[in-house]
Amino acid sequence: MISAGLVRGALLGLLAVVLALSLLIVANRFVRRHRERRRERIAAPVRGSLLELLCAEGDEQTELLNRLAEIDRRTWAALEPTLTTLLGKVAGGARAALVRLYELRGAAVDAVTELSSRSAARRGRAAQVLGQLSHRPAAPSLCRLLADRDPEVRLAATRALGRCGGPEAVPYLLESLYGPRAVPPAAVIRALVSLGPQAQRSVAAGLEHPQPLARAVAIEVLGATGVVSHTSEIARALREDPQIEVRVKAARALGRLCMPEGLEPLLAAVRPGRPVALRMVGAGALGTLGAVAATGPLAELLGDPDRHVAATAARALLQLGPEGRAELHAAADDRSRGPAAAQARAVLAESAVGAARHDVRAEVAL
């Protein structure tokens, strides 16, 4: 039997731990707030000049730039978080002025040095600054940072590479998808999309990557950026890739690319016997593709034993315009078609409600 003294001791111990933790949280908040206020106090004398710079024009801007570029290190360090935040939130002349200020201050060079800092927060902020400044020479250092021990730093480096990287960053970004220090695929995709047309060839090389996730990401990026010149390779991936996730991405990309070469592989992908996920995405992609030739095969799918495939096919028919709508009406009126008629009626009703809601929204906006 447990003695009362032991229970009391345990409770007191627990209470002490809770108290200590609460004190720690309060102290942490206090220190943070104190630091923030101190930073604001130090930056306050030049904050007005910074706002003036962002709203100034011509010669006035030059004078303010020179004045701000000469502030002491302590004030600059206090002002920098504000500069970094504003860099991502202003455009036009204001952004150009901020970039020029960083250049005059040599801050890009400092940020490259900071990428090797022992503090994860500093490494992350440096990566963010370099990305915001589109500082291309920092790309190799940022590529190395993709394997940083801190996940936030890895994410910051990925975003930064999307802004300042080039084709040479693509293999590093694809490699970053693997291992114990992996970067989330969504972040890698956004970065690769941001690299734009200059990186298309390098991204397309990812279609031959030995790892399925890299192939899937490459396909998604090519589809999202509308790289029609690689339609045949994506169609081949849909037909031949051994991994279902890659084939699903290929189906979606073919729909987005809207090229005629996408039609045949997509029609093959929706045939019975293929994996359900692939058939669903394939049916949706046929709607996005917008080929009238897909109307018949999609109408057949309305009666598919898998209701998800049937519902996707019904929505895809709607996307095909008058021809698709006519097929839906025909199916809805044909009572002998059972589930197919029900699917058609459901999607037509859904579309009618959607149109009515859109009308109401337009009226409110007007």
């Binding site: 706002l51 962002l54 709203c55 939130k89 202003v90 002349g93 204001a94 952004r95 409110v364």
Partner: protein, 124 residues
């Protein structure tokens, strides 16, 4: 000169917008949340409201709906501020009764021009 109400929880953006509009000759009331924005709109004669869509607690959309529901502010011109990644908010903003919107990142000059344009439209 118009009296412009700015509601944004981001102090840097709030100060920048307030600075630009003051520089353009407007009187500015800047607040950091939706509740304070509603209070300021009730207690002052405001000519235009610039509302950040995403604010903790009461969002810019909620403030806009409330403004439209009050007789005193039912016709107050409202400009929404939203981030590029939240462009879907624009449609909802118009449905809530906004007159215009500005997408971040924005140029202070563009913002000032938009404010002037909306104010001119209302005067006519």
């Amino acid at each position: 000169m118009a009296h412009v109400l700015i509601a944004d929880d981001d102090a840097d953006i709030r100060d920048l917008v307030a600075f630009k509009l003051t520089q353009s000759g407007h009187q500015v009331t800047a607040v950091e949340d939706g509740m304070a924005a509603l209070r300021a709109a009730r207690e002052n004669t405001v000519d235009l409201a610039l509302l950040d869509i995403r604010m903790p607690g009461m969002s810019g959309l909620d403030v806009c709906r409330e403004l439209r529901a009050m007789a005193q502010t039912a016709t107050l011109p409202v400009i929404m501020i939203t981030a590029r990644s939240q462009e879907a908010d624009v449609e909802v903003g118009f449905a809530a009764g906004a007159d215009d919107y500005i997408i971040k990142p924005f140029s202070p000059r563009e913002l000032s021009s938009r404010v002037t344009a909306v104010l001119n439209r209302v005067e006519r």
